[in-house]
Subunit: 770 residues, 2 copies
């Protein structure tokens, strides 16, 4: 693949104008003729046996076209109504038991949503309540109620690194990392610190909740759905309906945000099953309240033990992570790997030991969430870094600088670090915030200011596969077939830029397809900040092939060597001789092939040994740092963010405006999770499952001053995803600043005013006792 | 490309069940939200200057959302509102002049079709009528009114063989064929015959009339249209809207018949222009009456001069063909080439001279029609063959047999014939019908029976380009990306068979895409009986590449040579060792590429020299024969078909049931055109433009006995299209039988009872005079 002479720059999203005018259609805007509307009846119990479901009154309601219960699914042998990317442990409708408050037990498709809703109230379900577990300690206690009576059915995906769950335990999966000899290293360390850190489950809150339309047409199961992973949904539906994947067609318009919530199968099976039952298209569109119990970020408890020497070198770290994966595994078994190894941090630590567990409980399922376990890990290790520094009187910046990875040093998963920029990122962040280790908190009245830092490493899904195709038309315009999902992050713009510059075309000469699993090539999913790099690489490979074909055609025409030719503005010419140039379209027509076709396949190596967690953890490593200045009101505990610097390594920046917007989005996500986001359960019942009671960051909460340091090294010719990278450092940077301002160390997110005040009172009590 | 062990056989169309139950959606079934309905105001005059159009009252009508007139288009420089595959001589709406009765002058988009229709009546158009020409003689007479004042704008397509029309003439185009020395050959011939033959314009009568829905969405011009040529429509709209082809998306569902009527651009421009004007989706769906004036078969007059020796060898043929192409060229300039060279017939004639003209008149445009000019040519030469035989007392069968082409003999366009089966086809047809040259007409009461024969050659569009892509999924199922148009002929079934057998898959493991110009690869169009061969070849190439990839993956896995492996039922195995087989899906997963991708490009050579008509006329030659027994009622002139044998060469038969149905369809088309189909004009006004007055064949008219001889030679590993091939011999075979029954030779189609009775009376008068 030949690099373009100079990177093309594009001002933001190509369709920004249409987006702000509401002219971009989402899945929910699709109106299929004859379409019905579906509603789900959900369990009020966190754990119960379904004794009986009587839907006869609902079926009799005028306007109701189909009603399905778990029993309807259980009795059929033409379907296999289970799904889940790792374990097939979730049924389209609960059949024997419900496992969380919100688990769907029946579904209705009706002429409109009101009728469907009314029908739900006519379904009589008899439950026998069972003892339940909600936190990982209870779930792992001896004699705990077991969420899944038998080991869940194993799927194929990622089977290499998954340990099969055993019966009679709530451990869904266990990831192990064994590097060096932690026991000896702890024994030899000058200081050993052991602390516990927790993060709560939180919500993704995409503006668009889960929704899809399913219809079965000429034997083909069609679903237009707001998913980040059309091919995973296709595989799932093919399995459920016991048909070949060629008979399932998933199409995906632009998404109204994803953030991991829309990875893997969610509402598609029940919509398709209802469409089949009703013989009509069926839409399902979750309410915000339903969205809250559909998928969450993992709540987690991490016990972290770190050994350091007197000269501030980290020599060993041992972590035990208990991820609360809720009632169904979703991608939990894989996420605990990333979250587990991430506890090794961006540090050159010779001895690392990790046990990371996914634990079933009777909470809503937890899955992928922007940051993918790394936020939880970074909260632990970057908080502990400051705790150690404070304890030993070290400058937190210097302590980090001494240990941050450099090229050639081994990361926690064993491979050599390359293209490392941690020190540059953290150093720059510290400078931008005016970091001075000698600086004391500045107090004005009840308000006190201080600064905090954090620096993180994040892997991207590995191995990683994206494939693409390119089609050069007879007028020289270019069409890219890609299954990348546009979800507001600018995927299509980025791919347009990469495609256009590969052939020196204008952006209006390029189109990027939307995912349509019938025709667009496989992509594993738009997640893990992988798209611009992985799909971008596949697109560049396909376009590079087209470029080669053009050069060969022109070489034959011009009786020249391809090496002596260049591509300039849609034409091929002998270098520097525009008079002899030939338009691409003329070359295509001359080839008599109607179009030039090419494919690009990006398939990385990678994967970890299941016994040691060593191998290739990430195709490359995402790197970020944050520096923040907070102001804490000692009377109220309220925390304001005065200054915030986000530093992230981009390799090459494909779209500067989007790179900045993505990073600002991470700040908003980060401060929300740092300061107030938390799903609160009481006996498995969500107490704040709506956007009135559940707080996300508003513009009001944003830092007064934001500076962005999106680090670019074009010469590396590598693109690093930045969709999530600057999120994980936000929470510990804020926590560290709050500690420096108040002396209150909070290890359980979020850092609420109540906790700050409690901490201040405890400190005061301790000081007065001393 | 590896041939499958044994051809797969499939019972008819895969979706036949859905089709007969009305479950297959057509373009007209698409309902886009907010869609408007369009109607066209058409000229009542055959030729007139548009003095003024006042649409103000129409625009004011409630429910009217957009009104366009020619003036609205003429004043814009952001569009180029002309189209036409060869000459851009047709405007979306007439601007300066109307050129046939039915030429659209204004268009309305409204909330429903009734409102749009009502609005048409509120548009006031002032015309200044002009003298007009309706037949080729009048059009070519000195001082004739000129249909196009200036030479039409030349397009790019097929530009190599098109002679630019001159001003001040109604000759739209002129094709020349010059082979050998006809002058000398006529001089040396023992007998020279010269006759004139005519065919009238007729209708295609697809059950589905022209229709489309257009909408402009995020800057993309989308049209879902019932077309046989999505890519030609795309090119046309890109030109009209002055955008790159990447910004126009044409999608095509199954068609309700095409027969050539749906080749090239028709209703799409005005629908898209209305959609743009209204800012809403717009459907246009022609009534049957509008369909009659949208596109027709070419009426033609052919003067044919043939020289023969006493031993029944044809030594020279000279033809002059005047094709009445109507008011706009459409594909006329190319059709006259095929119709012109086809007058050379399936005979080994050393000296051939053809002048073939497309002539503009003030009739509705003529274009592609099943048989593509060859029906008109065959009507001439196969009628003349019998006239010569009758005159010289030869057996028409023997006369033909003596002259039919064999392998290695030069066809009229100069290249060597190969894979010739004319003699086999005709011999078999004669045998099946019980041909006996000594047999006399059998009379019973007023009814008399006799038999007739014909044999034809037909070229397929050359050069010919189809491209396809294949995608093998991770469950081993296969998806084909093709722009082949399914129009009831079974394209998808045929391609499914070819794709499935290439990998030894079941048909339910294969999907064939519908055309979507954004993503499916280029195809020049589903026409010319080319799809199964051309697209089939492209598909087989793509699938062959997948096969190679599978063998290589398996070879690596099994540590074997690919040559020692075989594909059996979705698995690769060492030959004869199923125990070691690996499923395709496992090989795909092992490759980590998510899917295997491959492209297939079929691009034939070919083309004729514009001065001599010599070169490569057809990638291969389609061959057919017909034999018929008729019964003519001498009192009424009514003709019944008692027995009909259709013989056609198929190479390999991909789908036996469809092959038979296609051939039966040709019989229906052929007998209609032989016996009653004719568009009757009076002063340019169509007199029978509806299915009450215009007769097509009904089941009642079908031959009492049909026998089909679909000749297969699998070893040739070639597929010959049969969609049209058996149509051209129908008319002359019937005409020849009627002559043998009655002694009445009719040279102007159709062979109506009136003409038979007139002929009988003339013969009686002549006999009584003698």
């Amino acid at each position: 693949m030949a690099a373009a002479a100079a990177p093309m720059r594009v001002p933001g999203m190509l369709d920004a104008n249409l987006r702000v005018r509401g002219r971009v259609p989402y899945a929910m805007d699709l109106n299929v003729v004859g379409m019905l509307h579906a509603k789900l009846l959900r369990s009020p119990y966190a754990h119960a046996r379904i004794v009986s479901v009587d839907a006869s009154r609902a079926r009799a309601l005028s306007g109701v076209r189909a009603v399905l219960t778990g029993a309807d699914l259980a009795e059929r042998d033409d379907i296999y109504p289970y799904y889940g990317p790792i374990f097939r442990d979730q049924a389209a409708l609960a059949m024997d038991k419900v496992r969380f408050a919100g688990d769907p037990v029946a579904a209705v498709a009706a002429d409109d949503a009101d009728i469907a809703q009314a029908a739900l109230e006519l379904i009589d379900v008899e439950y026998e309540e069972l003892p339940a577990v909600f936190d990982v300690d209870a779930a792992l206690a001896a004699g705990a109620p077991i969420v899944h009576d038998e080991p869940p059915r194993l799927g194929q995906t990622f089977a290499d690194i998954i340990v099969r769950a055993e019966a009679d335990t709530n451990i869904c999966n266990h990831f192990k990392l064994r590097k060096g000899d932690v026991e000896r290293a702890f024994a030899e360390a000058d200081h050993v610190f052991e602390n516990e850190f927790t993060s709560p489950p939180v919500q993704h809150v995409p503006m668009e909740t889960h929704n899809c339309v399913a219809w079965i047409d000429a034997g083909i199961i069609n679903v237009t759905t707001a998913t980040q992973m059309p091919f995973a949904v296709r595989a799932s539906l093919a399995e459920i309906f016991r048909v070949s994947q060629a008979k399932v067609r998933i199409t995906t318009p632009t998404l109204g945000g994803g953030y991991g919530a829309k990875t893997y199968t969610k509402v598609e099976p029940i919509a398709a099953l209802l469409a089949q039952a009703a013989g009509r298209p069926v839409r399902i569109h979750l309410t915000r309240e339903e969205e809250f119990v559909t998928i969450t970020k993992h709540g987690v408890k991490i016990r972290m033990k770190t050994g350091v020497t007197n000269d501030a070198r980290i020599v060993a770290r041992q972590s035990t992570c208990w991820f609360n994966t809720g009632a169904y595994a979703d991608i939990g078994p894989r996420l605990i790997k990333n979250g587990g190894y991430a506890t090794g941090g961006p540090h050159d630590i010779p001895n690392v030991w990790v046990d990371s567990y996914a634990v079933y409980t009777n909470l809503p399922p937890a899955g992928a969430f922007r940051g993918y376990g790394v936020s939880q890990a970074a909260w632990a290790y970057e908080t502990q870094m400051d705790m150690i520094a404070a304890q030993l009187g070290w400058d937190p910046l210097e302590f980090r600088m001494k240990n941050l990875l450099e090229d050639g040093q081994a990361v926690m998963t064993g491979e050599d670090m390359f293209d490392a920029h941690f020190k540059e990122l953290l150093g720059s962040a510290a400078e931008r915030i005016g970091w001075d280790s000698a600086e004391q908190p500045q107090r004005t009245g009840s308000k006190v200011r201080a600064k905090g830092l954090a620096c993180i490493i994040k892997g991207t899904v590995t191995p990683s596969t994206s494939t693409a195709a390119a089609k050069l038309n007879e007028d020289g315009s270019l069409q890219i077939l890609s299954s990348a999902v546009e979800m507001g992050q600018g995927a299509e713009t980025a791919l347009s830029v990469l495609a256009a510059e590969g052939l020196d075309l204008r952006l209006d000469q390029v189109s990027i397809s939307r995912p349509d699993t019938d025709v667009t090539p496989y992509d594993q999913g738009t997640s893990s900040s992988r798209n611009t790099y992985s799909m971008g690489t596949a697109v560049r490979m396909a376009v590079g092939d087209i470029r080669t074909q053009l050069l060969e055609l022109a070489a034959a025409e011009l009786e020249a060597s391809p090496d002596d030719l260049e591509l300039v503005a849609g034409r091929v010419q002998p270098r520097g001789v525009p008079d002899k140039s030939i338009a691409y379209g003329d070359l295509v027509r001359g080839s008599r092939s109607g179009n030039l076709l090419a494919n690009g396949v990006y398939a990385s190596k990678g994967g970890l040994d299941p016994e040691t967690g060593q191998g290739i953890g990430s195709v490359h490593w995402h790197q970020a740092a944050a520096a923040v200045e907070v102001e804490v009101d000692l009377d109220t505990g309220k925390i304001d963010l005065l200054k915030y610097h986000a530093g992230v390594y981009a390799g090459r920046i494909v779209n500067p405006v989007q790179a900045e917007l993505q990073t600002e989005g991470n700040i908003a996500f980060g401060l929300g999770q740092a300061l107030f986001e938390e799903m609160i359960f009481d006996g498995g019942q969500l107490q704040n499952g709506n956007l009135g009671d559940y707080m996300i960051a508003s513009m009001e909460d944003m830092p007064k001053e934001i500076s962005l340091g999106i680090l670019e090294h074009i010469e590396a010719n590598d693109i690093h995803g930045i969709g999530e990278t600057s999120l994980p450092p936000a929470m510990p940077a804020i926590g560290n600043a709050v500690y420096r301002a108040t002396g209150v160390r909070i290890t359980d997110l979020p850092i609420t005013p109540e906790k700050v005040l409690r901490g201040l009172r405890a400190r005061a009590a301790q000081e007065s006792a001393e």
